[in-house]
């Protein structure tokens, strides 16, 4: 199996820059996800790893082997595409067996045995003689996965593999992919724009934005401690407040937002960066909807309800407080136009400091 390193990878097409210095280190056997909005460069990154694109600058290494200039057929990667890309003129078995024309099956198995083994792995035993056109979308994607895995690649690359499937199927297939991945312990790079999918399936996640990596971390870190305001807003629902530091004690900040003062305890990741904070400095902090509830008695604010969406187990309420958009999750639809909610000081997470903002200018 393989570990993967990207160092300062950038890609320029004529006038447009798709990647501006991507650094990644993926460990052997890891399930690693690239997530970001469309056009952020996550697919270009994957295609650079696969060898379909050559980076304009930077280096791609598999186990310390430099891969720049190596054609895709010599990289020993398996790729699964969003639209399956099954060969329509071949049967399912021929599709799965195609890579075995160029690489020998694992020692001790014949090509035919390997095909049957893979079809069984993706729960498609007995479907070998069918044509791709006779399969459902979910089945096609499983054939595509089996085809990518058949030659035992060192690296499995999945480019938005679930996007063409309906929601329920997506969840089933997601679990199946995860099960197979951990069974085979194959290093996997997964590209998706669906942040929920990214959190559900990955060992680690990289949030990509405008050709750069904003943050790399476990799903928990990404969700609980977003490094930037972009990550905070892109991953899950979030409420972002912009304000000014009034006073600070050893571990607590008092922040003034729209004429109202809040007490927050900055997360430890920020404690160091925040040591230079003085009163008068501007910052932004975020509070997850699940931390902003009517039952908490600290940091209260009164929200004007605008819309509410009934989601079954919860109700998502969109509203406004002094012009700041607010999103809440409640157990029951609100019965009034005004709701008073509060959050605990440690429920807030600082995502942006004035010094950061200055640094970006």
């Amino acid at each position: 199996m393989t570990d993967l390193t990207l160092e300062g990878v950038s890609k320029v097409y004529g006038e447009t820059t798709a990647l501006r210095g991507i650094d990644l280190a993926v460990e052997d056997g890891e399930f690693f996800t690239l997530v970001g909005p469309s056009g952020c460069g996550k697919t270009t990154t994957l295609r650079t790893i696969a060898g379909f694109e050559e980076p304009t600058a930077g280096s791609v290494r598999f186990d310390d082997r430099e891969m720049t200039g190596v054609p895709p057929e010599d990289r020993d990667v398996g790729v699964v595409f969003q639209n399956y890309a099954l060969f329509p003129h071949m049967t399912v078995a021929e599709n799965v067996g195609y890579g075995l024309r160029f690489r020998d099956p694992p020692a001790g198995t014949t090509r035919e045995e390997r095909i049957l083994e893979l079809l069984e792995l993706v729960d498609l035993a007995g479907m070998g003689e069918r044509r791709p056109s006779q399969l459902s979308g979910g089945q096609r994607q499983r054939v595509s996965l089996a085809r990518a895995l058949a030659p035992e690649p060192g690296l499995l690359l999945l480019d938005e593999p679930m996007s063409a499937l309906d929601a329920r199927l997506r969840e089933t297939l997601r679990r199946q992919v995860k099960r197979i991945q951990s069974e085979l312990e194959i290093t996997t790079i997964y590209v998706t724009h669906d942040q929920e999918e990214a959190l559900a399936i990955s060992d680690r996640v990289a949030v990509v934005r405008a050709g750069t990596v904003e943050q790399v971390g476990t799903p928990k870190e990404i969700y609980r401690r977003p490094a930037t305001r972009f990550v905070a807003e892109f991953i899950g629902d979030n409420n972002v407040f912009e304000g000014e530091v009034r006073t600070r004690s050893s571990d607590e900040l008092r922040v003034r937002v729209s004429g109202r003062e809040f007490d927050i305890v900055p997360a430890d990741s920020l404690a160091e960066a925040g040591t230079g904070l003085e009163s008068g400095d501007r910052l932004a902090f975020c509070v997850r909807p699940e931390a902003l509830t009517p039952t908490v008695e600290t940091n209260r604010l009164s929200v004007t309800v605008e819309t509410s969406e009934f989601l079954g187990e919860t109700v998502r309420v969109h509203g406004r407080w002094n012009g700041t958009p607010i999103v809440l999750r409640l157990a029951e639809p609100p019965d009034a136009d005004e709701l008073t909610v509060g959050f605990a000081p440690d429920g807030a997470h600082v995502v942006e400091l004035e010094s950061d903002a200055r640094g970006n200018d």
Binding site: G14, A50, P72, E73, F81, N83, R103
Partner: protein, 626 residues
């Protein structure tokens, strides 16, 4: 096909196997590049070199660079008509404007057109005639359902590949003094009328419409069928009347197709040759016919100059066409094409004036399209009075008793078939590799390679813009006579190799034109999947792309074969004197003295050309670009 290696054998055997495997691997990795290189060499030697030779012939006078030939042509009223005054003294703008004003004030009197002017004039008339004949066909084919609609739609490709010389024979058989039309008119006591002798220009224009109206029709039908019916329905729901919806939604989508058809028709009829030569003779000479006449009098420099001027015009038009085509390329295929009405749902509606007009149009197309072909076939079996096998007997007798210096039928048929098959083997890889290179570099990476793809595309389409005669002179003066190289060597290519290469160069653009759109429609992820699974670029092409664009390849093969079989202009030059004449050359040689056998030979040619398309239709090739 596992890559398993032999277990037994001595070390030396294994070593040899390893070398063998390595050589095979290397070849496979570089196969695509090697084929592309070979294609470039064939194009360089067989296309750009001859055209360059013609160009050199025109611009060198006594070994020195000079524009004297051009000046001579451009200031000669015989060639450029009234424009000769402008070219003689280009700076006397005042007097030219005065002359223009005087002409307008005098009420647009007729003026001398010159050879180029006349060529453009007849091309313009032919374009109008082709549109007039082709657009109603497009309307009927796109909007009505009737028995045989699909067959007629696929048959619209046929005239395009019919050899000009054969069509000329067909027109003689239909419109000549003893032709079918006069025979029919004779039944009702009219005629006979000397149609061709009295108005050769009209017959030439009808013959051009025979070629190009189907082209206009097929391009327009494709556009019409790609109109999304939901756009029409949206226009109706927003308050547009059916007529208004047609004008606002359908017409703008048809216009590009009609323009494309008109441009192509103008290009083709500007370069017309066999039709005018056979039906009009020298009194109706176009540039191309005049070039041919000059060559026969060995006035090569003058011929080359005219040929270059003609090529500049047609290249400009072709460039305009390619630019236009690529600008239209973004138009998507409709998800829901408009429904088609039954043409004759019942007897009462069949008698409506509109449907009667359609029937009348149908009769006209029968006269123009079916008439000449059927007349030719019938002409092969009749002899003034009645049925006869005399003409075919003549062909057989000529074969068995003819002297070796005479043009024998069987060698002509055999050569045509052999060259056709050989051309397939050369033109198919050329056409496919150019498709791959242009669609691939168009798709991969950014603006630069996109521009490269356009340049390669344009260079590769040059055969469409270079007339057969230009190509023919170039081949004759360059490759047949030979070009001296350093060290006393001569580059000389003649006979079978030259003919097959010339046919391949003429035919491969049709392979590219058939394969490229299908290739561009394929999901790039298919090739990428194959490559990440270990296939080289060449293997991915063989295993994945080619099977999926098989219908385009088969259609390209049919074109290639038909074009090779029907090719006349360069074959007649390369086959002169030798035993490598083909069917069209034989038809032309018979035509002067014995029309019957020429018609019989033309029928055989028609049968073989038609057969190659029928075979393709059966194996599922498609000639559609939509």
């Amino acid at each position: 096909m596992t890559t398993g290696r032999p277990d037994g054998g001595s070390a030396r055997d294994r070593g040899r196997v390893r070398v063998h495997v390595r050589v095979r691997d290397w070849l496979e990795r570089h196969a695509l590049g090697l084929i592309a290189l070979l294609t470039a060499v064939v194009l360089g030697v067989m296309l750009y070199l001859p055209v360059g030779v013609v160009f050199a012939e025109a611009v060198f006078v006594d070994g020195r660079l000079s524009l004297a030939h051009f000046r001579e042509v451009l200031t000669d009223p015989f060639y450029v008509g009234v424009l000769s005054q402008v070219f003689t003294d280009p700076l006397a703008i005042g007097s030219h404007l005065a002359a223009l004003g005087g002409w307008i004030l005098a009420g647009f009197p007729s003026f001398p057109l010159g050879l180029f002017g006349f060529t453009a004039y007849q091309a313009a008339l032919s374009t109008v005639a082709s549109l007039a004949l082709g657009l109603p066909a497009a309307y009927v084919l796109a909007n009505y359902e009737f028995r045989g609609r699909r067959t007629i739609r696929s048959l619209t490709i046929l005239p395009f590949v019919l050899p000009g010389i054969m069509v000329a024979v067909g027109f003689y058989a239909m419109f000549g003094q003893a032709g079918t039309l006069n025979a029919i008119l004779g039944v009702v006591g009219l005629g006979p009328y000397p149609f061709i002798e009295r108005n050769p220009l009209a017959i030439v224009i009808v013959a051009h419409a025979f070629y190009n109206a189907p082209l206009v029709a097929r391009i327009t039908v494709a556009a019409w069928e790609s109109v999304d019916v939901r756009a029409l329905e949206t226009a109706r729901s927003l308050g547009a009347s059916p007529r208004r919806a047609f004008v606002d939604v359908v017409v703008p989508q048809l216009l590009p197709a009609v323009t494309t058809g008109a441009l192509l028709t103008f290009i083709f009829t500007f370069m017309t040759f066999p039709i005018v030569l056979a039906l009009g003779g020298l009194q109706l000479a176009t540039v191309e016919v005049w070039v041919y006449a000059r060559i026969q009098r060995l006035a090569f420099a003058e011929a080359a100059t005219l040929a270059i001027l003609e090529t500049i015009v047609s290249l400009a038009l072709t460039y305009a066409y390619l630019r236009y085509e690529s600008a239209q390329a973004g138009m998507s295929r409709a998800a829901a094409p408009p429904p088609r009405e039954r043409l004759f749902p019942d007897l009462r509606t069949a008698l409506e004036p509109w449907r009667l007009a359609i029937v009348g149009y149908g009769v006209l197309t029968l006269v123009v399209f079916v008439g000449p072909m059927v007349s030719m076939v019938i002409g092969g079996f009749t002899d003034g009075g009645g049925f006869t096998l005399r003409h075919y007997e003549f062909l057989i007798r000529r074969q068995t008793e003819g002297a070796s210096y005479q043009t024998l039928p069987w060698p002509a048929i055999r050569n045509s078939l052999l060259f056709g098959v050989a051309t397939l083997f050369v033109a198919m890889p050329m056409g496919v590799v150019i498709s791959v290179v242009t669609t691939r570099s168009g798709r991969e990476g950014g603006h630069h390679s996109g521009r490269w793809a356009t340049i390669i595309d344009t260079l590769a389409m040059v055969p469409l813009a270079v007339s057969g005669i230009v190509f023919g002179i170039g081949l004759l003066r360059g490759l047949v006579f030979g070009i001296p190289l350093i060290g006393g060597w001569r580059l000389q290519i003649t006979g079978v190799v030259a003919i097959v290469a010339a046919h391949a160069v003429a035919a491969y653009p049709f392979v590219t034109r058939n394969v490229s759109p299908l290739l561009a429609d394929l999901d790039p992820a298919l090739v990428e999947s194959a490559r990440s699974l270990g296939a080289s670029r060449y293997r991915a092409l063989l295993d994945v792309e080619l099977p999926l664009v098989a219908s385009g390849i088969v259609a390209g093969a049919a074109f290639t074969f038909a074009i090779s079989i029907g090719e006349f202009s360069s074959t007649v030059i390369l086959a002169s004197g030798g035993e490598t004449y083909t069917m069209p050359v034989a038809v032309e040689r018979y035509l002067g003295r014995r029309n019957g056998p020429a018609i019989a030979m033309g029928t055989v040619l028609l049968a073989i050309t038609g057969l190659s398309f029928v075979v393709v239709d059966r194996v599922g090739g498609r000639f559609e670009r939509d």
